[in-house]
C-alpha cells in the first residue's frame, strides 16, 4: 500500500505542477477558476486517499450477546476469527475469553455508529422493539439450540363467574420424552395434556374457576418426574350484574312463570304482564317499582330493560304504537328481543322475515338433544310436545339445533340490538326433571346473546401480553371522555398520546414491581393487569425472540462482497462524491484548455 505521506507529497507536487502550468499559460482568462479547479482536484485526490476517511468504512465483525447464549459457541467463533472482536451485550455484563462485554442501551445509536460492521448475534436474539431500532442494519444470527417450549399461548384474563378458563397454545417438544402440561389452581391439578416427543402441536387446557376475584393459576411443564417450568397464569373472575327483564305473555304460561321465579331469585328485575282475559292483564313487578295500570309501552320505558321476552301472539296483540316503540328500542337503543314462536300463522311484523317456523313431524323421539351452536360443548336434553323448527334465513345465526340440524333458536342483528326467536315452549321441564344446571345454561345462552350491551365509559388494556418488570408496557385506553394528557398509575404519571382512532389513547409505562397492578384511571374505570417477573414465561419469550430475529434476517439478508460481506456504508458515498469532484475539476481544466 502506498504510504499516506508519499501520496501527500505526490499530490503537492501535482498541485505545484498544475499551478505552475496554469500560471505560465499565456492566456490568463479564468485564471483563478483554473487555479481553484486544480486545487479542488488535488484536494479531492488527497482526501480520497486519506486513511481517516476510510476509517469507518473498514468492515469489522462485532459480537452481540443476547439472553440464553451458549458460551462454547462464542468461544469457538472467537477462536476461528480474530479473538480481539469487540463484544457487546443486550443486557448485563459477561466475560468471555477474558473480554468483558459492553452493554448496549440504545440500539438505534449503536446501529448508526457501526454502520459498516457485521453484527454477529448470539443467544436467543432481539425482541421486536430492538429489531425495529436496528432496522435496516443486517445481522448474522447464531441462534442457541431451541429447548422444549410453549411457542404461543393465549387465555382470557378477565372472565365471568362460571365461564371456563381456556388456555390454548402450541408446544414444541423437540426432546425425546413425553411432556405433560398441567393447569393448576390453588395447588391442585385441573386439566392436563401430554405432548408426544418430537412434535410441535397445539394444546388446550380448561377449567371453570371456583374463586371470585384475582388469583394466580399455574401452568406446569413436567417431563418424567421433573418439573421443567412453572409459569403463572393470572385470572380475574368478575361478578355478573343481574339483567332487567320484561316479559309479555298472551296467556298465563308455566314456562314464563318458572323463568320469572328462577331469575328473580338471582336478583333480576322482572316485569311480567299476562293477558288473563279480554282487556284484562295481570302485571307483576319484581325487584322494581310498579307502574300504574294501563300504562302503554314507550321507548323511554322500554329502554330501562335489557331484554324483552314475548310470545309472538302477545306481540301481535299490542297496539301498533307499542310495537313501533319495541322496534325502535331494539333498533336504536340496542334492547334484546326474545320471541317465543310457534307454527300458527301470524300477520307480518318487523321480525317475521327473519324467522319462518315449520312444524316437525310428530313421530320424532320425544326427547331431543339440543346443541348450542355458538358454544362448543353444551347439550341440552329436552322433552318436546309440539316440535317446531325455524327455517334458516340468510343473515341469521343458529343458536340451538338438534342432531338433524333442525333449528330451535336463531338470532339476527337488528340495528343496535338483537332478536332471537325460539320455538322452545317448555324449558321448565328440564329444571323440574332436576337438571337446573342445564336450564340455567340454556337460558344463559339465549339471554346472554340477546341482552343489551353496556358501553363502559373507559376500557383499558395492555398491548404486551407478558408485560414484565422494568420493561415498557404499552397501555391503551378507549374512552369517550375529554382528551386527557396524563393519567396516574399508582404514583407514576403516564403521558397519554392520541391513538389512531378518536377515542383511543396510548401511554408507555415502566412497571417497577411484579404482581397485580391497577389500571390508571381517567374516569375511575378500575380493573387490574398483571406484571410478570422477568423469568416468567422465559422459554416462550426466547422462542418468540429467536423467531423474530430469524424473520428479520430473512427480511434483511447480508449483501455478499468478497470473502467478507458488508453493507452499503456512508463512506462509499463520500468517496463517490470526491471522485465526482475530481472528475469535474479535471474535465473543466481540459475543456477550458481545448476551448481556449
Amino acid at each position: 500500500m502506498i504510504s499516506w505521506y508519499a501520496t501527500l507529497t505526490l499530490a503537492c507536487l501535482l498541485l505545484l505542477f498544475l499551478f505552475y502550468r496554469e500560471w505560465k499559460r499565456p492566456n490568463r482568462s479564468r485564471l483563478y477558476a483554473r487555479l481553484l479547479a486544480s486545487l479542488l482536484a488535488a484536494g479531492s485526490l488527497v482526501w480520497m486517499a486519506y486513511p481517516g476517511a476510510n476509517k469507518h468504512t473498514a468492515v469489522r465483525k462485532l459480537v452481540i450477546l443476547t439472553e440464553g447464549f451458549v458460551r462454547d459457541s462464542i468461544e469457538n467463533f472467537l477462536q476461528k476469527n480474530n479473538s480481539a472482536i469487540p463484544l457487546f451485550s443486550a443486557a448485563g455484563k459477561y466475560t468471555v475469553n477474558g473480554y468483558t462485554t459492553q452493554p448496549v442501551a440504545d440500539w438505534h445509536a449503536f446501529a448508526l455508529a457501526h454502520v459498516a460492521d457485521t453484527l454477529h448475534v448470539f443467544g436467543n436474539g432481539f425482541n421486536n422493539t430492538m429489531l425495529d431500532a436496528l432496522y435496516p442494519h443486517p445481522i448474522v444470527f447464531h441462534g442457541s439450540p431451541a429447548s422444549p417450549a410453549i411457542t404461543d399461548v393465549y387465555w382470557k384474563q378477565n372472565i365471568d363467574a362460571g365461564e371456563p378458563l381456556r388456555i390454548q397454545g402450541n408446544y414444541n417438544n423437540n426432546s425425546s420424552q413425553k411432556i405433560k402440561l398441567v393447569l393448576q389452581a390453588f395447588g391442585s391439578g385441573k386439566d392436563s395434556v401430554v405432548i408426544e416427543p418430537g412434535t410441535h402441536q397445539p394444546f388446550s387446557l380448561q377449567c371453570i374457576p371456583v374463586h371470585s376475584g384475582r388469583a394466580l393459576y399455574a401452568l406446569r411443564t413436567i417431563a418424567g418426574n421433573d418439573t421443567l417450568h412453572r409459569e403463572p397464569v393470572p385470572v380475574v373472575v368478575q361478578k355478573n350484574m343481574p339483567l332487567q327483564l320484561l316479559i309479555i305473555s298472551s296467556s298465563p304460561d308455566f314456562d314464563n312463570t318458572y323463568l320469572k321465579n328462577h331469575f328473580s331469585q338471582q336478583g333480576f328485575r322482572v316485569f311480567i304482564t299476562n293477558t288473563i282475559t279480554a282487556r284484562k292483564t295481570a302485571r307483576e313487578f319484581i325487584n322494581m317499582p310498579a307502574q300504574p295500570a294501563g300504562t302503554a309501552l314507550t321507548t323511554t320505558y322500554l329502554d330501562k330493560f335489557d331484554v324483552l321476552l314475548a310470545d309472538e301472539e302477545a306481540l301481535q296483540k299490542i297496539s301498533a304504537a307499542e310495537l313501533a316503540a319495541v322496534r325502535s328500542t331494539v333498533q336504536d337503543k340496542g334492547m334484546g328481543l326474545l320471541i317465543k314462536m310457534d307454527n300458527q300463522k301470524k300477520s307480518a311484523a318487523f321480525y317475521t322475515p327473519f324467522f319462518t317456523v315449520k312444524a316437525l313431524p310428530q313421530n320424532k323421539p320425544t326427547f331431543v338433544l339440543l346443541q348450542g351452536n355458538t358454544t362448543d360443548s353444551s347439550a341440552y336434553k329436552i322433552k318436546l310436545s309440539d316440535p317446531a323448527a325455524i327455517g334458516y334465513v340468510s343473515g341469521t345465526q343458529v343458536i340451538l339445533k338438534d342432531a338433524q340440524s333442525n333449528i330451535f333458536a336463531s338470532a339476527v342483528a337488528f340495528g343496535n340490538g338483537k332478536i332471537i326467536a325460539t320455538t322452545l315452549q317448555n324449558t321448565f321441564s328440564m329444571a323440574l326433571a332436576g337438571n337446573t344446571t342445564a336450564y340455567q345454561q340454556l337460558w344463559w345462552l339465549l339471554l346472554n346473546k340477546v341482552a343489551k350491551k353496556q358501553y363502559p365509559e373507559e376500557v383499558w388494556r395492555t398491548s404486551s401480553f407478558f408485560a414484565s418488570v422494568n420493561n415498557p408496557a404499552l397501555l391503551e385506553a378507549e374512552t369517550n371522555a375529554a382528551p386527557a394528557q396524563t393519567a396516574m398509575a399508582g404514583r407514576t404519571t403516564i403521558y397519554l398520546e392520541e391513538g389512531s382512532l378518536p377515542y383511543s389513547r396510548t401511554g408507555t409505562y415502566w412497571p417497577g414491581e411484579m404482581g397485580w397492578q391497577d389500571y390508571p384511571d381517567i374516569q375511575k374505570a378500575g380493573g387490574n393487569w398483571y406484571v410478570y417477573q422477568a423469568s416468567d414465561w422465559q422459554q416462550l419469550l426466547w422462542y418468540q425472540r429467536a423467531a423474530a430475529t430469524r424473520a428479520y434476517v430473512e427480511r434483511r439478508p447480508l449483501v455478499s462482497g468478497g470473502g467478507e460481506t458488508t453493507g452499503i456504508s456512508k463512506s462509499v458515498y463520500l468517496r463517490l462524491y470526491l471522485l465526482l469532484v475530481f472528475f469535474s475539476c479535471v474535465f473543466f481544466l481540459w475543456a477550458e484548455q481545448k476551448l481556449g
Binding site: 363467574a161 362460571g162 389452581a185 390453588f186 395447588g187 391442585s188 371453570i208 371456583v210 374463586h211 371470585s212 376475584g213 384475582r214 388469583a215 394466580l216 355478573n240 343481574p242 339483567l243 331469575f263 328473580s264 331469585q265 336478583g267 288473563i276 282475559t277 279480554a278 282487556r279 284484562k280 292483564t281 295481570a282 302485571r283 307483576e284 313487578f285 319484581i286 325487584n287 322494581m288 307502574q291 300504574p292 295500570a293 333498533q331 300458527q344 310428530q362 340495528g415 343496535n416 344446571t437 340455567q440 345454561q441 344463559w444 339465549l446 339471554l447 346472554n448 350491551k453 353496556q454 358501553y455 376500557v459 378507549e478 369517550n480 382512532l501 378518536p502 377515542y503 404482581g515 397485580w516
Partner: protein, 704 residues
C-alpha cells in the same frame, strides 16, 4: 540343644492350619449366607435374617465335613517334607523326643530344626484361604447384582402412594406419655386396642379412654372437641401428673389438648360406620319363566357380605295364585341352607322346589333375600319373580275365534305339534322304537315347515342353500340369463314378499323361530321330551304376538282449536280491577361466595404478606365454613383448618406467613366449592362498536 523347638514349630504350624481351615469355611459360609439372604428377601419377601441362619448352618456343616481340628502333627511334618527339600524328609524327627534318638538321628534332628527355623510357614497354608475367599467374593458380587436388578421394581411400588404422606403428630412438650385405649363396640367383635398417638381411627360407638401423663404438674388439662365443646380431664394422682378421660365416639370430628392454656395442634377423630349387609343374587334372573316340561325348581345362588358379620339371613317367598279378584297370596320364610351366623362372607346355593311350595301352573313366586348384621342393620334384595305359566290357557282356541288376524292356522299348527308330541310321549311304551323315531322325525319336519312359513314374514325366502342348483342344472336352460339371475338373486322388490311388521314384532317373531329351531332339533334327534319346553315357548311367544297386535291402539294427537277471545268472556268486566302486584325478593346470599372471595384474598396476601380488616373478616367467615366441613370429614379438611388458623394468627400478630400454610388453606377451601353456574348478563360492548353505532345512527337519521 533346642529341645522341643521343632515340636513347637510344628504345633504352631498346625494351629495355623486349623485357623486357616476354619477361616476358609467361615468365608464360604458368609458368602452363601449373604447370597441366600438376598435371594430369600427378593423371592419371598421374608426378612434377610434367614441368610444368617443359613450361613451358620453351612459353617457347621463345612466344619463337620472338614474337621480341621483333627489334623495330626505328623501330617504337618509330611507337608513340611513335601514343601521343603531342605528338611531332607526328616521333619517327622522333630516330633520325637531328642533323647529317644540315636546319634545320627540327633544330628539330623538338629540340622532339620535349624533349617526349619530359618524358613517361613509353608505357602500352602496361606493358599488354603484363597479359594474360599474367591468363592465368597463371587457370591457377594452375585448377591449385589441380584439386589441391584430388582431395585427398580421394589422402589417404584411405594412411589405410587407418595401423595399420602402421613403427617407426623406434634405433641405438647408438657405431655410425657399418652395411653389411648379404644374399646370397639360389641357388634364388631374386635378386641380392645391401645395406641400412643392422639389421632384416632375407631369404629362408630367405640369407647375411647385417654390416660395422659404430664411431665410437670399441671393445673388443668382439657380437650376441646370440634372447637366448641370443652371437656376437662379427671386428675387421678396427687402430683397433678396423671389425667384421664373416657368418651364414646359417635361421630367424626377433631379435638385439641389444652394444658394450662397451652393448645396443641388439631387431632382428628375418624369413625368407621358399620356398613349395611350386601346381598347379591346371582341366579335366577329377576324374572324367570319355567316352561312346561322343565323341572319345576329354582336354583338360588346368593352372595352375602358384611364388614363385621351377618347374624341372620333368610328367603322371604310369596306365592301368588289365581287371577283377577280371586288372587291369593301365601307367604313363607325359608331359611338359607348352609348359613351359620357370624361370618363376613357367604356364598350360598339353594334349590327351591316349586311343588313343595304348592305352586300350580299359572302361579307366580315372588321372593327376596333378607340379611341382618351383628349391629341389627337389615338389608333386603330386589324382589325376584318366578312364573309358572298355565299351558291350559295357551291351548284354548277361545281367543282365536274372535281374532281378525291372518295367522290362526299357523297357531293351530304349533298347538297341533305340541299335542302330537305329547301323544307320542304317551305312546312311546306301546309302539316300536322305529315307529317312535319315524313319528318324531315327521313331527320335526312339520316343525320345520311351520318355521319356514313364519320365516316368510321376516323376509326369509327358503332354507339357505336349498335353491338354485337344480334349476340351473337343466341343460335346456344353458345361457338362459333370466333363469341364472332368478337362482342367484333375492327379489326384494316383489310387493307380496315384503313384510310390514314393526321392528318389535319382527324381533319377537325371530325369537319364536329360534324356539322352533330348538324344538325341531330335539324332535329330529328323537328326544321329544326335551323338545316340549321349546314348543311351548314358541307357542307362548306366538300367543303374545297375537295379543299384542290386538291390544294396540294407535295414539292420536290431541290439539284443541285456539280460543277466540272475542267470543269468550264477553261479559261485563269493567268493575274488575287490573291485577298489579309488586314484590321485592331479598336475594339469598350464596353461602359459598365468602369461600370464593377467601381464595382470592389468600392469593393476594401470599404476595402482599398482609391483609386489611375486610380481608381478615372474609378469611374468618371462610374458616367457619371450613370448620363445619372438618367436623364431618376431619381427614380431608383438618389440615386446611389448621393452616388457615395459622394464617389468621400470623396476620393478627403481623408475622411472616408461611407459603405452605396459605397453599394448604387454599387447597382445602377450593375443595368446598362447587362449580358456579353462569348467570346471564349484559356483556360489555366494545367502544369500537360505539363508533359504528354512531355511524349507524347517522345513517338512520339521513333516511327520509
Amino acid at each position: 540343644m533346642d529341645n522341643g523347638k521343632g515340636m513347637q514349630l510344628i504345633s504352631t504350624l498346625r494351629g495355623k492350619w486349623i485357623l486357616y481351615s476354619v477361616l476358609g469355611d467361615g468365608l464360604v459360609a458368609t458368602g452363601t449366607g449373604f447370597l441366600t439372604g438376598v435371594l430369600v428377601c427378593e423371592l419371598t419377601g421374608w426378612p434377610a435374617w434367614w441368610g444368617i441362619a443359613y450361613g451358620v448352618f453351612i459353617l457347621l456343616v463345612l466344619l463337620l465335613v472338614h474337621q480341621p481340628w483333627r489334623v495330626k502333627a505328623s501330617a504337618i511334618a509330611a507337608l513340611l517334607n513335601q514343601t521343603y527339600p531342605d528338611a531332607e524328609e526328616s521333619a517327622e524327627l522333630l516330633l520325637q523326643l531328642p533323647a529317644s534318638l540315636n546319634t545320627l538321628q540327633q544330628l539330623q534332628y538338629k540340622r532339620t530344626s535349624d533349617v526349619l527355623q530359618t524358613i517361613d510357614a509353608p505357602l500352602s497354608i496361606h493358599k488354603k484361604i484363597w479359594a474360599p475367599a474367591f468363592i465368597m467374593v463371587m457370591m457377594l458380587l452375585t448377591a449385589i447384582a441380584i439386589n441391584k436388578l430388582s431395585v427398580p421394581a421394589a422402589k417404584h411400588a411405594p412411589s405410587i402412594n407418595h401423595t399420602t404422606v402421613i403427617k407426623k403428630e406434634i405433641v405438647l412438650p408438657q405431655i410425657a406419655a399418652l395411653q389411648l385405649f379404644i374399646r370397639p363396640p360389641a357388634y364388631t367383635a374386635r378386641p380392645a386396642r391401645q395406641q400412643a398417638s392422639f389421632n384416632l381411627l375407631a369404629e362408630e360407638g367405640s369407647q375411647a379412654e385417654w390416660k395422659i401423663q404430664t411431665s410437670v404438674a399441671a393445673g388443668q388439662v382439657s380437650f376441646i372437641f370440634n372447637d366448641t365443646v370443652r371437656v376437662k380431664l379427671r386428675l387421678t394422682d396427687a402430683k397433678h401428673n396423671q389425667w384421664q378421660l373416657s368418651k364414646k365416639l359417635d361421630s367424626s370430628g377433631f379435638y385439641q389438648v389444652n394444658i394450662d392454656g397451652k393448645l396443641s395442634e388439631l387431632y382428628k377423630i375418624e369413625t368407621i360406620r358399620d356398613q349395611l349387609p350386601v346381598i347379591e343374587i346371582q341366579s335366577p334372573k329377576q324374572y324367570t319363566t319355567i316352561e312346561y316340561g322343565e323341572i319345576p325348581q329354582v336354583k338360588i345362588t346368593t352372595l352375602l357380605s358384611d364388614d363385621y358379620g351377618i347374624k341372620d339371613a333368610f328367603i322371604a317367598a310369596t306365592v301368588a295364585s289365581g287371577n283377577g279378584e280371586a288372587v291369593k297370596f301365601k307367604e313363607q320364610k325359608i331359611s338359607l341352607q348352609g348359613f351359620a351366623p357370624g361370618a363376613r362372607q357367604y356364598r350360598l346355593q339353594q334349590s327351591l322346589l316349586l311343588s313343595a311350595l304348592a305352586m300350580q301352573p299359572g302361579d307366580e313366586l315372588y321372593f327376596y333375600v333378607q340379611a341382618t348384621d351383628n349391629h341389627l342393620q337389615q338389608t333386603r334384595s330386589d324382589i325376584h319373580i318366578v312364573h309358572l305359566p298355565d299351558t291350559a290357557q295357551l291351548m284354548s282356541v277361545e281367543g282365536l275365534a274372535n281374532s281378525l288376524t291372518l295367522k290362526p292356522e299357523y297357531f293351530r299348527s304349533q298347538r297341533q305339534i305340541i299335542i302330537e308330541t305329547e301323544q307320542l310321549l304317551k305312546d312311546k311304551d306301546t309302539i316300536s322304537m322305529e315307529a317312535f323315531k319315524n313319528r318324531g322325525n315327521n313331527l320335526g319336519i312339520d316343525q320345520k315347515l311351520l318355521r319356514l312359513r313364519y320365516g316368510k314374514f321376516l323376509g326369509e325366502e327358503s332354507e339357505p342353500g336349498e335353491h338354485g342348483a337344480d334349476e340351473v342344472d337343466n341343460i335346456a336352460d344353458f345361457s338362459n340369463a333370466e333363469k341364472v339371475m332368478d337362482a342367484f338373486t333375492d327379489k326384494h322388490d316383489i310387493a307380496e314378499d315384503a313384510s310390514y311388521y314393526d321392528p318389535a314384532t319382527k324381533k319377537q317373531l325371530r325369537a319364536t323361530l329360534t324356539e322352533m329351531w330348538r324344538a325341531e332339533l330335539h324332535l329330529r334327534t328323537f328326544t321329544p321330551r326335551e323338545a316340549l319346553p321349546f314348543e311351548y315357548k314358541a307357542l307362548r311367544l306366538l300367543k303374545d304376538l297375537q295379543q299384542q297386535s290386538r291390544a294396540y291402539v294407535a295414539k292420536a294427537n290431541f290439539k284443541t282449536t285456539p280460543l277466540d277471545l272475542k267470543k269468550r268472556l264477553t261479559g261485563e268486566l269493567s268493575k274488575i280491577n287490573q291485577a298489579v302486584r309488586q314484590k321485592n325478593i331479598v336475594q339469598q346470599k350464596d353461602p359459598q361466595q365468602v369461600v370464593r372471595d377467601a381464595l382470592a384474598v389468600l392469593d393476594t396476601i401470599k404476595s402482599a404478606g398482609n391483609a386489611d380488616q375486610q380481608s381478615r373478616e372474609i378469611l374468618q367467615q371462610a374458616n367457619l365454613r371450613l370448620h363445619e366441613k372438618a367436623v364431618q370429614q376431619p381427614s380431608h379438611y383438618l389440615h386446611a383448618v389448621e393452616a388457615l388458623n395459622n394464617v389468621l394468627a400470623k396476620l393478627d400478630n403481623n408475622k411472616t406467613l408461611r407459603a405452605q400454610d396459605v397453599q394448604a388453606a387454599q387447597f382445602g377451601l377450593q375443595q368446598l366449592l362447587a362449580t358456579p353456574d353462569r348467570m346471564p348478563s349484559a356483556g360489555n360492548g366494545n367502544l369500537k362498536q360505539n363508533l359504528s353505532k354512531q355511524y349507524f345512527n347517522n345513517l338512520q337519521n339521513r333516511q327520509p
